[in-house]
């Protein structure tokens, strides 16, 4: 599904990444443990997380994550947003909890990082 459809499914706010809204995403991971993300097949996935630190963005850069969703309306500090903007990583803020955000994306046919539903 397109990134724009993910934003819609989550009633979310796109913080940055206007130019990437047509990007196609098929897999989704949810974690607050960066090593789990780094250990998984996380290229071009959407990553749901409750963390808003610079390390989330660096993890996304290193692992090739396609977009980051902050759950529970979280908004990262400006330097985190600037870093993601610089690196071309779309950032999304979802008003829903981790559980509900995941459920909504699962209902839209996204698979886990391992391709399973």
């Amino acid at each position: 599904m397109k990134l724009s459809e993910i934003v819609d499914a989550l009633d979310a706010t796109l913080l940055i990444g206007e130019d990437k809204l047509d990007k196609s995403i098929t897999r989704c991971g949810a974690s607050d443990l960066m090593s789990d993300v780094l250990a998984a097949v996380s290229e071009d996935c959407v990553l749901l997380t409750g963390l808003t630190t610079v390390q989330v963005i660096r993890t996304a850069i290193v692992a090739g994550v396609g977009a980051v969703v902050f759950v529970r309306k979280k908004k990262p500090p400006q330097e985190v947003i600037d870093m993601a903007k610089d690196q071309g990583i779309p950032l999304i803020s979802s008003p829903y909890s981790m559980f509900v955000s995941c459920g909504r994306l699962h209902a839209c046919n996204l698979t886990g990082l391992d391709g399973k539903r």
Partner: protein
């Protein structure tokens, strides 16, 4: 492609060689003579704001040299995990990347407290990280196993109170060879 190197074993076999004392940071003669490029970055212990910058620099350097994207990803992941380890658990250190004709060598050293039991540290899930580390998204005990998985060879040298060295080798795939 060299099948075996002194001091290094296949990842599938025993990955750890402790034959060399810790604190030896100079590459052996084997690495020296075929070195084409080497870049080093200083890593500061407990500097969580900058942790990861060196690995992203290395990622960009390798991209500019047109290496295979999946190879670059593996190197960047190993660099980042190792950098986080030095920042979380180690002392001040150095991360370096060396580009040779058939391989990339990633090496990280630090002068911190060292690892008492390397076999235990290599086990998935083993971690001495504290709550602050976990709040930042680290401390799953997955870093070293992840570095082992993503590199073609790994060597960990460490002793309690005597620093840590981790050297990883990545063979550059032949053109057309996929992984």
């Amino acid at each position: 492609m060299l099948a075996t190197l002194p001091g290094l074993t296949e990842n599938d076999n025993l990955p750890l060689i402790n034959a060399r004392p810790a604190r030896i940071t100079a590459p052996s003669e084997n690495f020296k003579h075929m070195s084409q490029l080497k870049k080093s970055f200083h890593i500061k212990s407990r500097d969580f704001i900058r942790a990861g910058e060196a690995s992203i620099n290395i990622q960009n350097l390798l991209k500019s040299m047109d290496f295979d994207p999946s190879l670059i990803r593996r190197v960047a992941i190993c660099g980042y995990e190792s950098e986080m380890n030095v920042v979380m658990h180690g002392g001040d250190g150095t991360l370096s990347i060396e580009v040779d004709s058939d391989r990339l060598i990633l090496e990280i050293t630090d002068d911190g407290p060292g690892i008492e039991d390397i076999d235990l540290a290599m086990q998935a899930g083993y971690s001495t990280a504290n709550d602050d580390h976990r709040e930042m998204g680290f401390g799953a005990g997955m870093g070293l196993p992840n570095m082992k998985k993503n590199s073609d060879r790994i060597q960990v040298d460490s002793k309690k109170d005597d620093g840590t060295l981790v050297r990883m080798i990545f063979f550059i795939p032949e053109k057309g060879e996929t992984d």
